[in-house]
Symmetry: C2
Amino acid sequence: MQNFDYQTPTRLVFGKGVIEKLPEVMAQFGKRILLTYGGGSIKKIGLYQKVLELLKGYEIVELSGIQPNPKYDPSVLDGVRLCKEHNIDVILAVGGGSVLDCSKAIAAGAKYDGDPWDLISYKVKAQAALPIVDIITLAATGSEYDTYGVISRTETNDKIGYGDPLLYPHTSFLDPVFTFSVSRKQTAAGIADAMNHTMEQYFTADTTLLNDGFCESMLRSLMVNGRKCLENPEEYTARAEMMLACTYGCNGILSLGNSPSGWPCHGIEHALSAYYDITHGEGLAIITPRWMRHILSERTLPRFVKYGINVFGIDPALPEREIAEKAIEETYRFFESIGIPMHLREMGIDSSRLDEMAHHIAVNEGLENAYVPLSEQDIKEILTESL
Amino acid sequence: MQNFDYQTPTRLVFGKGVIEKLPEVMAQFGKRILLTYGGGSIKKIGLYQKVLELLKGYEIVELSGIQPNPKYDPSVLDGVRLCKEHNIDVILAVGGGSVLDCSKAIAAGAKYDGDPWDLISYKVKAQAALPIVDIITLAATGSEYDTYGVISRTETNDKIGYGDPLLYPHTSFLDPVFTFSVSRKQTAAGIADAMNHTMEQYFTADTTLLNDGFCESMLRSLMVNGRKCLENPEEYTARAEMMLACTYGCNGILSLGNSPSGWPCHGIEHALSAYYDITHGEGLAIITPRWMRHILSERTLPRFVKYGINVFGIDPALPEREIAEKAIEETYRFFESIGIPMHLREMGIDSSRLDEMAHHIAVNEGLENAYVPLSEQDIKEILTESL
C-alpha cells in the first residue's frame, strides 16, 4: 500500500429541490457572480430562470456557449477577461463537466497576471483562485467533487488535464431531476465516462481488497442504474444513484493507497478528442476494451479474472484465461448495448492521422509509466484496433 | 434515495513515515499546542519523544491520562481549563479514538464561556472551536475522519455522542506502523467497532446498490485484514488496509442517501459502557448478533439475505430464512473467532441493572425511530440475550 495525502473539502448538496439552498451558499461570497454555462439546455429545463430568480440582488455577468471539450480560446480567455473586468467574487458553473472544467481554469486564471496557459500547462503554480459553486446537470465527469479540469487548445491539438487543490468546488449542487432530460447519447457517454474513471484506478499493480470492492461496486451500480436511466429517463432513484456514483469517479476516494495507474485510456482518448472533438465518454468506451485486450498477459491475468468474476459474475470455475477474455468481451458488449458507437470510423475517424496521434500521445501523456507501459507502437496498435 | 448535505474537509496524511510532515502542518497555527494523549503507550512506541523533537520551538502544554470512554470530569474539564489558561492555538491529539473524541469536546469547550456540557448535550450550539490535528495509534473509531466524539459522564451514567462540523480534525496523520504494538484485545475490538459502524449504516430501509457494495467491501476487508493483523501484528499491508477502512466508518461516506438507521447497537452499547466502562468495540460485538436475531422478520429478511450472500459468501440457492440465520451465526462466530468475549457476564455484567439500563436507553437514545423500532421491552430482551 502506497502513502497518500488526501483531502476533498467540497460540500455536496444532493437531492430533489436542493437548489433552494443556493442563496444561503452564495451569501458567503461577494455580490459579483460570473455565471457560466453551455449551449442553453439550462434554459430549456428552466434552471437558468430559477437561478436568476434565486439570485436577485446579485450582479451577474454571463459566460455562455462553453462547448464540450471546453476550449481555451475563446471560453477560458473570455471568462478570465470578464472576471477581471467585473471584479468577480465567485463563479457559478451551471451545466456538466465541461462547463465546470472550464470554470476551474477561469477561476485560476482570474487570479493570475500572465497567460492562463502558464497555469494549465503547469509552467506556473497557481497562488490563488476564485471560489466556484456549481449546479450539475449531467452525471459523468465527477468534476463537481474533484480538483481537475480538462482544457483543449485547438491550434496545437492539446487536451490537457490540470489540477490544483485551490480548484475544488466550494459547493456542488446535485439535483437528479436536472438530469431527467439528458439525451440517450449523453447519458450513455456519462455511464461510460464514470465506468472508465473507475477502471483506470482498478487496473493497476498495487491495490487493496477495500478499493477493489469499492470499484467493483461502482461498476455494478453504474451498469444497473445506467441501464435504468436509459430505459426510463425520469426514474428518480436510478438518476440519483448514477449521479452520486459519478461524483466519486475522479477525486481518488476509490483508490487511496493504490499504486499509480497512469490513466492510459484517458491519455489516448484526450488525443482523439483534441484531434476530432468527439464525445469524451464515447471515446473512452471505444478505447477501453481494445486497451484491455492489448495489456492482457500472464502478469495482468489475475486482475482481469477478479474483474470478470466480481463485476460481471462470470463463473469462477472457468479457466482463468477464459474468464479474462469473457470479461473484456462483456465490457465491449455492455458499452455497445447502451448505444455507444464502438468504432472510431463511426465517428468519422480514419487511419490518416493515427501515426500523428500515436506520436503526440507517446510524447505528451507519459504512458511509459502506466500500469502496463505503452510505447508509441502500442498506442498505434490500440488506435488501429479501435478504428 | 434521501437528500443529503455532506462535507468531510479533513486532510488525511497516510503511510509510513508521514509524521515527518507534522511541522509543516503545525506551522499553519500559532505556537501554543495542547498535546493530548492517554495512558502512555505513545511513550513506549517512541512517538511521544518523536513529536516533541519535531515540535521544538513550540510551547507545549500536556493533558495526559485520557481514558477509554473518555470522561467529562476530569479530562474534558481539565483540557478546557488548560486551553484557556495557556491561550492554546491548536490541539494535537495523539492516540486512539478516545483521545481524539475528548479533544473534540475540549476544542469546542475552549471557545465557550459556559459549562462545556451545554455543548455536548446540544443545549447550546458551538460557535467556534480550536483546530485539531491528530496522530492515530489505533485503528477503530474513525474519529480521525468525522465530526463526532463520545463523552461519558460517570455520575449520571451518560455516554453521549455529539458532533459539530466545526470539529472535523484539520489534519489526521495515519501511520500504520504506530498500530503494530496494539494488543490483540484492542485490535479485535477495533475490528468489531469498524464492522459495527458499517453494519449500522447497512441495515436500514432505503439503501443503494452503490452503498451496499461499499459496506460489503468494508466488512470483507475488515474481516480479512483484521485476521491478518491478529496473526501477524507487524504485517504492514494488513495494518494499513485496516487503518484506512476504519477511517471510513463514521463520516457518512458509506451511506450517502440512505435512510437513517438510528444506530441501534450504539444506542444500546453506550449504556453498557457508561454503566460498566467496558471496551466499546467488545460491547458492540456482543450486542450486534443478538440485535440481528431480534429484528429478523419477513420485512428485514431481504437485507439479511443480501448480507449473508455478499459478506459471508453463503450459497444463494439456500432458502432465504436459512441464509439469514446463517449470516447472523457467521457474524457471531467471526467475533468469537477473533477472541472477543461474547457474553456480558464475561465482563462482570449481570442482570441486576438490566432494567435500569433498558429504561435509560429507551428514554435517551431515540431507538423508537431506528430501522426496526426498539421499545424498552425490546432493548431489555436484547440485553438479556447478551448476558
